[in-house]
């Protein structure tokens, strides 16, 4: 297929606002009479608030009111509340005070007397699983996850623990969930090499640059919320629910979002605090979130303690895998990273037989949520160095051994509830490896592997990762106005990928209209937005090209019908050229787009949005109804065929110099390649590839949460102590490429991009460090300089293999 817009660069409408500072994020809004609020947060990892005495404090000058957990309805059991009487992590909000200034609110909070009863806490899932061991929550639940596994309780037996060496082997008692396919034992028996290792992957903060500040007020019966959200339409119903309102009673403005990486995917509990306060005091309330508060409320990746057993035949084929993941889920119900480990292993490495077991355990760590490649990227960090170990032992090329195991189009992933394995419409990971291999000059560089230059040793690494990347069933909504402009209504968010525009271009492509004649409507629920998925899970490129495609097809059909009605003949006699709908046999017989829009308004009914399809979502119904009569409406639900789980893949190649005296490394070169289907927006893709690679470097070698096990306090709050990569942690230049082969299940061949790029670079860096150390595998992320120096000096590591949340 040849495209006019798809695959071409363009200047997204919001990039100029970003470089000029005119882009408005949540904290940039002001409202008449706006006041401020501050939070009182828990100083303890787990406590019960027995009594709050705020009588005197609330009489202080400038103080306007307070809300506590009593003022906000609680959510479902296990889910994080907005305010709580049983804080389960340091930094959990207990109450909020509104005042004419932040200073006044702070002064008031200083005067509030709280009687806390300290409760038992834990930062180690294995402690909670031990019979009689301390639990993170006071409600009797110690396990649970966001979807499918309601909060419950699991304790392992003393015998489970007695079977293993404490801290060095995972006890592997009863899991919460498990699946298997093939004959695992029989396949292990056939293997030439088998490795069984305990592993730990640390938690790391999302560290969104924009703290999740929010401003809210009530006007004419509606609640206006300015918030920092990755998503727009998708976040509205849960936000309304948290406010006890109907979606149409909430105005959500989230036009810009200063980074989320999974942590702002949908409405989150603290964002309703200013709305409730505003309702109580009758003034607009701004809640500015500090960097420290963002550390607590802004989420972190789920950490793992696990055990992995993998076996390869002499040719390097993975025959069997057996993985057990214990997830450190933080204090409240969190994402299912532990499940994604099994999904990713089954798909990316295609073992003949496999067993997966998982158990998500609550601890007294701050909120955790999905973070870029939740689970898949941890698995990449665990698995890829083991693949290298096999390659080394079996004397195989490290790229070739990966290709031998990679999936192809139609390959199966993990088994679903019915036992059947999901299939992927397309998988071009082998092509990504080949492209990267050539661009990186792998064969030439491998000659330098292990080369010494004073204390510095060269290490070469390759890594790969995957993420499922797309959904179906959401709606598209377009309106062609009498002035000939096409308004593309998109309910997706603005995470910084520019895909709100990139995926809208498919509508312009179908209608052949100039991009300059298109207007993107987004970022504010008053702009009549359709029901769309959230901007998470690397799904936007796939899901939103489908919705815009079906809406554009609906509009195209209506243009032809109008032309046929007005000019005679049948709809199929007509075609469009981007300005006019014309008779194929006689192009002079035509109607301009603007005139067609006027005719649509005159005709009414389905043409101008007065009659709508029955299967679209109520949100889309309401938006299309509001637009009715203003132009030619294209609206449809994405009922295109679903032929399997669309899946994005990535490969990354890294050369480092490892300083054996300091344990520090320098990245000499980096090449990342995405298997993302058809490239929609080359420049945007390039930035996503590089950004993913940068975050992977942080995950592999810099970032981790540390908690003091004695007092339960976080040891590294903020950007300095848990530093994300900076300009100086990266190679001087980064290189990118894409396979650019279409996914057959998407009208333009698009599929996801963002998440696997992080796992690919993280695992490539771990493999490069391992390579520079002669093949040593740490089975832990991040790999820190002290670990490297200890290993090279033959000293024991200060932490046990399963120690978690440690320095």
């Amino acid at each position: 297929m040849t495209f006019k817009l798809i695959g071409k660069d363009f200047i997204p409408h919001d990039v100029v606002a970003k470089v000029t500072g005119s882009a408005k994020y949540a904290e940039d809004f002001r409202a008449e009479g706006m006041v401020f609020c501050r939070l009182l947060t828990s100083p303890m990892p787990h406590a019960r608030v027995k009594h709050i005495d705020a009588t005197e404090a609330l009489k202080m000058e400038g103080v306007l009111g307070m809300i506590t957990a009593d003022d906000i309805p609680a959510g479902p059991p296990g889910f994080a509340p907005s305010l709580t009487r049983e804080p389960m992590y340091v930094g959990e909000p207990i109450l909020a005070v509104a005042a004419i200034s932040e200073q006044a609110a702070e002064d008031c909070i200083e005067k509030i007397k709280i009687d806390y009863e300290p409760l038992p806490f834990t930062h180690d899932p294995l402690e909670s699983l031990f019979p009689g061991g301390k639990d993170a929550r006071g409600d009797g639940f110690n396990i649970g996850t966001l979807a499918g596994l309601p909060p419950g309780k699991i304790k392992w037996t003393a015998a489970d623990f007695a079977r293993v060496k404490q801290g060095e082997q995972l006890p592997m008692g009863k899991p919460a969930e498990e699946w298997a396919f093939g004959d695992v034992d029989a396949e292990f028996k056939k293997c030439k090499v088998v490795y069984e290792e305990p592993f730990v992957t640390a938690s790391l903060a999302h560290h969104s640059m924009e703290p999740r500040s929010a401003m809210a007020y009530w006007q004419n019966g509606k609640c206006f919320v300015h918030a920092s959200l990755q998503s727009q339409a998708f976040a509205l119903p849960p936000l309304a629910q948290m406010l006890g309102l109907k979606p149409e009673e909430v105005v959500l403005i989230a036009e810009y979002c200063g980074g989320g990486f999974g942590s702002k995917g949908t409405a989150y509990p603290c964002m309703v605090i200013p709305a409730y306060l505003s309702k109580k005091i009758g003034k607009p309330v701004m809640m500015r979130i500090s960097r420290a508060e963002e550390f607590y409320l802004g989420s972190a990746r789920n950490a793992f303690q696990g055990n992995i057993k993998v076996g390869f035949d002499a040719a390097g084929k993975l025959l069997a895998a057996d993985v057990y993941v214990v997830q450190d889920s933080g204090a409240h119900v969190s994402f299912w990273d532990y499940r994604a480990v099994g999904d990713a292993l089954a798909l990316v490495y295609q073992p003949n037989a496999m067993r997966w077991r998982g158990l998500p355990v609550f601890t007294n760590a701050p909120t955790r949520t999905a973070q870029r490649g939740p689970g898949q990227n941890q698995l990449a960090c665990v698995m890829e160095p083991l693949v290298d170990r096999a390659a080394r032992e079996l004397k195989l090329d490290r790229v070739e051994i990966r290709k031998r195991n990679n999936p192809v189009n139609g390959s199966g992933g993990s088994p679903g509830p019915d036992g059947k394995r999901t299939v992927v419409p397309s998988a071009y990971l082998r092509d990504a490896l080949d492209k990267g291999r050539a661009k990186f000059n792998w064969d030439e560089r491998m000659k330098r592997s292990g080369r010494k230059n004073g204390p510095r040793v060269t290490g070469i690494g390759v890594g790969q990762a995957f993420h499922p990347s797309g959904f179906a069933g959401f709606d598209g909504l377009l309106c062609l106005k009498p002035d000939g402009k096409l308004h593309i209504h998109t309910g997706i968010g603005n995470l910084g990928t520019f895909s709100h525009s990139g995926t809208s271009r498919i509508a312009a492509e179908v209608l052949k209209i100039d991009w300059e004649d298109c207007v993107i409507e987004r970022g504010d629920s008053r702009r009549n937005l359709p029901w769309n998925i959230g901007q998470f899970g690397s799904n936007t490129s796939y899901t939103m090209t489908r919705t815009n495609y079906v809406a554009a097809q609906d509009m195209l059909a209506k243009l032809r019908e109008i032309a046929a009605q007005d000019l005679g003949g049948k709809p199929e006699d007509y075609d469009v050229d981007g300005k006019n709908v014309f008779a194929k046999s006689n192009p002079s017989k035509s109607l301009s787009y603007g005139d067609a829009a006027k005719r649509a308004i005159a005709l009414g009914g389905k043409f101008d949005g007065h009659d709508l399809p029955k299967d679209i979502n109520p949100m889309t119904q309401a938006s299309a109804t509001a637009l009715a009569g203003s132009g030619l409406i294209g609206v449809a639900k994405d009922n295109l065929p679903w032929t399997g789980q669309p899946s994005a893949f990535a490969a990354c190649f890294i050369e480092i110099e490892l300083d054996t005296e300091t344990g520090m490394h320098r990245i000499v070169d980096l090449v990342s390649v995405a298997d993302c289907g058809t490239v929609i927006h080359p420049k945007g893709l390039e930035t996503q590839i590089k950004g993913g690679a940068v975050q992977g470097i942080g995950m592999a070698s810099l970032e981790r949460l540390v908690f003091d096990p004695q007092n339960g306090l976080p040891a590294n709050v903020g950007l300095h102590q848990q530093k994300p990569p900076s300009y100086l942690d990266l190679p001087a230049e980064m290189h990118t490429d894409a396979v650019d082969k279409p996914d057959p299940s998407n009208p333009v061949g698009a599929k996801g991009i963002g998440e696997p790029l992080m796992g690919a670079s993280a695992s490539a860096l771990l493999c490069a460090i391992s390579d520079a150390m002669g093949g040593h595998v740490f089975n832990r992320t991040p790999v820190l300089p002290d670990m490297i120096v200890n290993q090279l000096a033959g000293r024991p590591q200060p932490r046990k293999p399963l120690s978690i949340n440690t320095q």
């Binding site: 500072g21 980074g259 520019f498 950004g691 001087a732």
Partner: protein, 208 residues
């Protein structure tokens, strides 16, 4: 290669900043913003916040008269009293660089600069870069061409750091640019594109 630092030009370090805040009667808290909010919202005469004083500031070439608390940071004055919200607060403690502004041609973290210390100095914010008809500064133009921003929250700070760099070193090498920009964190990881932008702006005469 060494870029001029704030300390070199003013003899005014972060430690000095904290000392001055303490001297002005305010508590220093890492976890909390301790400022009065909007004009007229501070409680005059109270020890904690001190008393607002009317000062004249030179912001983006204009003289602006504004009531300022002794412990007020320039970022808060810009954002909450002068309506210049392009300057972002990412950490409010000099870790991230999102609040970078240029004062007398030097890049500063405006979250860690007391407003009353910039009287009689020229403050340039992101809003003051584009020309009168909206034509973008060469750095802004280059950042658009390189699609350098992703989420965009760190972008104003990145732009201002790049402007200060090019003022002093109109043709930096990639390594020089990387060091000069290294105080500006970007969680999206758009560093490579920002660097491409800085070099593109330099080639286009970005010191303007």
């Amino acid at each position: 290669m060494s870029q001029p630092t704030a300390d070199q030009f003013t003899g005014y370090s972060r430690r000095e900043f904290i000392k001055r805040v303490i001297a002005s009667g305010a508590a220093v808290s890492a976890a909390a913003y301790m400022y009065g909010g909007l004009t007229g919202c501070s409680r005059k005469g109270r020890a904690a916040g001190g008393v607002e004083r009317l000062v004249s500031l030179n912001i983006n070439g204009q003289v602006r008269r504004v009531d300022v608390l002794p412990n007020e940071s320039l970022a808060m004055t810009l954002r909450y009293k002068l309506g210049l919200t392009g300057t972002k607060l990412g950490c409010d403690r000099g870790e991230c660089g999102a609040c970078t502004v240029v004062i007398d041609d030097i890049a500063y973290n405006s979250c860690s600069t007391l407003t009353h210390t910039v009287r009689a100095r020229k403050v340039l914010t992101i809003e003051g870069l584009a020309g009168p008809n909206g034509e973008l500064h060469p750095v802004q133009k280059a950042f658009v061409e390189e699609l350098a921003p992703q989420c965009g929250f760190c972008t104003p700070g990145q732009v201002m750091s790049a402007c200060a760099l090019l003022k002093h070193n109109p043709r930096p090498t990639r390594d020089e640019a990387r060091v000069a920009m290294s105080g500006n964190l970007c969680r999206c990881g758009a560093y490579d594109n920002y660097l491409n932008g800085v070099l593109r702006a330099a080639a286009a005469g970005g010191a303007a």
